[in-house]
Amino acid sequence: MTYPHIIFFIILVLPLLGGLINFLAGARSGPWIATAALLLSSILSVFLLKLTVDLPSVLRFTWLPGIEIGWRLDRISVSLIALVSFISMLIHLFSIHYMKDDPGIKRYFAKLGFFTFSMLGVLGADHLLLLFVFWELVGFSSYLLIGFWYKNEGVPYAARIAFITNRIADAGFLIGIILIMVNSGTGFISELQSIDQTGWWVGAAGIGLVLGAFGKSAQVPFFTWLPRAMAGPTPVSALIHAATMVAAGVYLLIRTSVIMPPALVSTVAIAGALTAFIGAFSALAQTDIKKVLAYSTVSQLGYMVMGVGVGATDMALFHLWTHAFFKAGLFLSAGAIIHYFHKHFHSIDGQDMRNMGNLKSVMPVTQFSYLVCMLSLAGLPFFSGFLSKDGILLKSLEWSALAGPWAFIVPVLGFFTVGLTAYYMGKQALVVFYGKNRMETELVKDKEDFLTVRLPLIILAIGSLGLFYSFNPFVHHFQILDFWFGHQIPLSFSMGWLAPAISIPLAVGGLFVAFRSYRPERSFTYRDYVARGHYRKWSMHALYLDQFYHESMVKAFNMISEIIYGLDRRFIDPVLNWLGMSFVVFSKLMDLVDKLIVDKLVEFVAYISKLGGDFLRLFHGRRVQLHIFWAVLGTILILLWINNFM
């Protein structure tokens, strides 16, 4: 155990410890303790970054006999550890405000701490098995947090569906891990490059890993759990279902894409592009403020996966990083709005955008933060989202040019999504913050708390500016990528200008269309929002995939289980019982044999002896004195007999 590892373990355990102490401490001070623990954690992780910047720190130990697993702290993982602990800290901070009046606040922070612990574990793990351990714990804590308000209708179902969907994907992941471990003799991510990649298992293992990543990162066809997961508290959505956990799948893909066969990688690219498009399309008609963001997350995750698929793993990681900031910012802004509604207009659904409007007048900081993050997501220059997304799109262009004409579906979908994203985000911003107040009652002025609301929002908004990554917004060469991946090979694609040239007009165009339809002075009614028309209905229900799963798979599954149980009770058990009964019948038969033959035989023997007894009884019993006679007679005979011999 080396020095960096001790620090890593402190970082790892601090959130867990903070959560525990919080649980034992009071509802007032507990959350602050948990937040402080995370603050310490994030400071330490920056320190850790400094320690491991030159030399990755590796720790290996035997967990199961014959199976060595280990941690590896290199630049990428430690950066992400720093990111996760930092964002988690901000979200803890925000949650103090958000969950202030909830009776389960202690439980909440404990679970949040547990989640952070698991997520950090995923990032630090070098061995696939160890990664899987924390991977599952992440899923478990996500289940707990989605189901936090377990009394509300639909929440338990959402939690269950999220866990089971992930579980299905994880089963594939587990198979993949085991195949790699069993066949290559190693499960270390850092050694994957050097293993012998021949044999049928490589493809199977790759599919397994991809399944696991797709489940966690809500890709087609698993993505339906993510919008449902919005049933959890909003800061949870910000942390888990936007910034960290869902990105874990992408992280896994980035780390393991080296062993995947090319065909599989292409499939990943197409699936990613498809997800990006479907997510963006589904976000169009949503009325729930969080659902829009959820589908947008799906869409952005699609970009990242697409990035891995087209070979831009560095850009995917970069997008993961930028996305963590702006999406967390968006969710926290939404959380602030929901909290505002919950506090002041209790009877009104605080998540339905159709009730909102003109919120800029009461929530200026939220509006600012939201705008910055929104523009970053929409992919406008000078914002971080533009840099990373364009990197992916450019690489996809290059990739499709090399791969063949069919591959152009990927960049086409990618670019199309850019326009859609700008449109729905612009629409959301306009509907929520501008225009007229669409409620019956007047808006109430309520100052946003600085430390727990404004500060996290501002930090996240600043983090979404492109300034930190590149002064020149059009150059695809970033310091951070150099830092992660060492010296980067510049893009050899000669048309490096093509991607921004297409995406910027698309983004601007999308915003413009949104502005046309939902400009502040235009009045529009509920009816504009009600899902009518085929496109809106399909968008509203995300292509009806969720319903499809429910109707086909879940119901079929339940029916199968009922049938099998019926089989068990009505067939197997009766057959075994019947076998038992046949033994009973047989034994009845034996009983007859027993009664008619064996018993009679025994009785006959008894009868014989009775006859003998009766005969002998003749000599006895009539008179007492006769006994004496017989005795004397016997004695005489014996004596005579003796005498004869003497």
Binding site: R623, Q625, L626, I628, F629, V632, L633, I636, L639, L640, N643
Partner: protein, 163 residues
């Protein structure tokens, strides 16, 4: 024929006849008195066979004790309605047994008695006293205890029936 022979044959006949009397009488009281006659005759025979001590014991215990007991028993049990129980259907087996035993014993007597030596008499009582207290002490003690137990047991049996 010496006097002693006369005495011997007298006792001999008395004993035998008394036994026959017991057999043929139907009255229990008579039977008891025949028994007394038989016992006294036997005591006389004991004297003639040099067993003076036993003869005395015979007179004391039998003719005295047992017969008195027997008489009491008869008086208590035989009710005065005069029904005398004596006849039996077992005459044939009884005679068979009687004959068989008699024949057998006669055979034995004839077979073994010639070998019996005749012994000059001696002072037996003193000698017997010594033997009782030395060689047969245990048996002697045991028989004493037995008598005690019988005494207690008999009185208990007789008494418990009262209540």
């Amino acid at each position: 024929m010496m006097l002693i022979d006369i005495v011997f044959y007298t006792f001999f006949l008395l004993a035998a006849l008394a036994a026959v009397g017991i057999l043929i009488t139907k009255n229990v009281i008579h039977a008891a008195f025949y028994l007394v006659v038989c016992l006294i005759s036997l005591a006389g025979l004991y004297v003639l066979f040099d067993a003076t001590y036993l003869a005395v014991v015979q007179l004391l215990v039998y003719a005295g004790g047992v017969i008195v007991l027997l008489a009491f028993g008869i008086m208590i049990t035989n009710r005065s309605d005069g029904q005398l129980l004596s006849s039996s259907h077992l005459l044939l087996p009884g005679i068979l047994a009687f004959g068989g035993v008699l024949v057998l014993f006669t055979i034995f007597t004839v077979k073994f008695s010639p070998g019996i030596p005749v012994n000059p008499d001696s002072d037996q009582v003193q000698q017997m006293g010594i033997v009782f207290m030395t060689d047969y002490l245990l048996a002697f003690e045991l028989i004493a205890y037995l008598l005690l137990v019988v005494l207690v047991g008999a009185s208990y049996l007789a008494k418990s029936s009262q209540s």
